[in-house]
């Protein structure tokens, strides 16, 4: 059994690796291949399907690596990812179900638009301050969104097919292990 701190460290390590891959491998790819990012989908996946705490840990790990090695100056990827993770998690917990495809697609669109809006807002703000910044580059809108859809939908299908995550738990008696209800 993995202890909570080990889980956090594992999440942090995976997120940092994803950020490193984004900064030093994906940035070399031509054109819209650059939409195949790892760190942001990882944060979004955890925000949709896991706990808020783990998604924030992933946001810090992945964002920090991108802030560190991308040429873009003052992109504040860490802070941006944290805000996106929080927004998605709050939305998933209160308004939108993460147990249906329509629900997770709504969350993905929210995450994507939040990320782009915050990024754009920071750039406008820095320009107002008179700072000449190198903006973070993004592949075209539809390519990045399509990649996020693919990742999240595939994860949803895997969960639905191979886990009990989306089955209604039936349960009940103290002392017995939890069982899913099957007809």
């Amino acid at each position: 059994m993995i202890r909570p701190w080990s889980r956090r460290l594992l999440t942090l390590a995976i997120a940092m690796f994803c950020g490193l891959v984004d900064a030093t491998v994906v940035s070399w790819l031509p054109g819209n291949w650059q939409s195949i990012r790892w760190a942001f989908p990882f944060v979004v996946l955890l925000a949709i399907f896991s706990t808020r705490e783990r998604s924030l840990v992933a946001a810090i790990g992945g964002g920090f690596m991108l802030d560190l090695f991308l040429p873009s100056s003052l992109a504040f990827v860490t802070a941006r990812f944290m805000l996106v993770a929080f927004i998605v998690h709050v939305l998933g917990a209160r308004l939108v179900s993460n147990r249906s495809l329509i629900g997770i697609w709504t969350l993905v669109i929210t995450a994507f638009l939040s990320d782009r809006s915050i990024s754009f807002g920071i750039q406008v703000f820095m320009r107002q301050l008179g700072t000449n910044i190198i903006p973070e580059v993004h592949a075209v809108f539809w390519a990045e969104l399509a990649w996020l859809f693919v990742v999240v939908t595939a994860t949803f299908i895997v969960f639905a097919a191979f886990t009990r995550r989306f089955l209604p738990s039936v349960y009940t008696h103290r002392g017995r292990s939890e069982m899913s209800h099957t007809i």
């Binding site: 490193l20 940035s27 070399w28 790819l29 808020r52 560190l68 090695f69 040429p71 100056s73 944290m82």
Partner: protein, 275 residues
């Protein structure tokens, strides 16, 4: 309410991170992590450049075919053309001057590896694995190993720095036509790997295939570094200046190794401080 408290904590942390980054307080942490990770980053960036070149093969084939057709047409038009001979002559002269310059000017080149890139549309910048500790300073010129100008250093860390490439829309560099002896304009980035030579006085003759080189008026950018070839001149009699499209000579979309032009004194200081 716990959820409200969590919201406040997240927003406060994000804002605190922003403010700390703006104030430069996270710098030492960043530099430490960079130092630890730089060996891994060199490995992953080599993997990235290899994967990138494989994926570019098809694009390269299409680009090479288009380029071949264009060159073919051009070659037919100016096979024994005086202009082309003149262009090659000027280019040759420029490269000779550059080679001579490296030996006599008090600059020397410091090799650097590209570890990360941001090249898409209007943005063209790369991170290299050399920084202030190696004697690098903001504003220094960066060249390919063939001696073609790539861009200038714009952001500096202890062990890494960011090079703004010539095609970035924020890039500006003082330039002149090889063979003339004064500043005649500015080469501005136009995005997508292109650049434009602007603010050329009408009195200065500029033709297709003229070689554009650095003017040498910027403190840390020596003169006579080859930038590109004039491709298409646009001029109206009523305008005080003319402009020209410039075909950049350096392959900006596939840089892996570059050289940073640093004054000899900076290198000596960096070496002595590291000892």
């Amino acid at each position: 309410m716990p959820r409200d408290r969590a919201l406040i904590i997240v927003i406060a942390t994000a804002i605190a991170l922003l403010l700390l980054a703006l104030a430069g307080f996270v710098g030492p942490v960043r530099e430490f992590v960079r130092m630890v990770l730089l060996p891994f980053v060199r490995v992953t960036s080599s993997i990235g450049s290899s994967v990138g070149s494989v994926l570019r093969v098809r694009q390269d084939a299409v680009a090479a075919r288009d380029r071949a057709e264009e060159l073919d047409a051009r070659l037919r038009a100016i096979t024994v053309d005086y202009v082309r001979l003149r262009g090659l002559e000027e280019e040759n002269r420029s490269l000779r001057a550059q080679a001579k310059f490296l030996n006599t000017s008090g600059f020397e080149s410091l090799g650097a590896r590209v570890i990360s890139r941001a090249i898409l549309y209007e943005t063209a910048a790369v991170t290299v694995d050399r920084g202030a500790r190696d004697g690098v300073e903001v504003g220094q010129a960066v060249l390919t190993d063939e001696g073609l100008l790539v861009g200038k250093i714009t952001t500096l860390g202890e062990r890494t720095s960011v090079v703004l490439l010539l095609s970035d829309i924020r890039s500006r560099i003082a330039a002149r036509v090889a063979g003339t002896d004064r500043l005649t304009g500015i080469v501005e980035g136009r995005g997508n790997g292109t650049a434009r030579y602007t603010l050329i006085p009408q009195s200065i003759p500029v033709k297709r295939d003229d070689v554009v080189v650095t003017a040498g008026t910027e403190e840390k950018v020596p003169g006579n570094l080859a930038i590109g070839l004039v491709n298409d001149v646009q001029s109206q009699q009523t305008d005080p200046f003319k402009t020209a499209a410039v075909e950049l000579l350096a392959p900006l979309d596939r840089l892996e190794l570059v050289s940073i032009m640093i004054p000899r004194t900076s290198t000596e200081e960096a070496v002595s401080s590291s000892l």
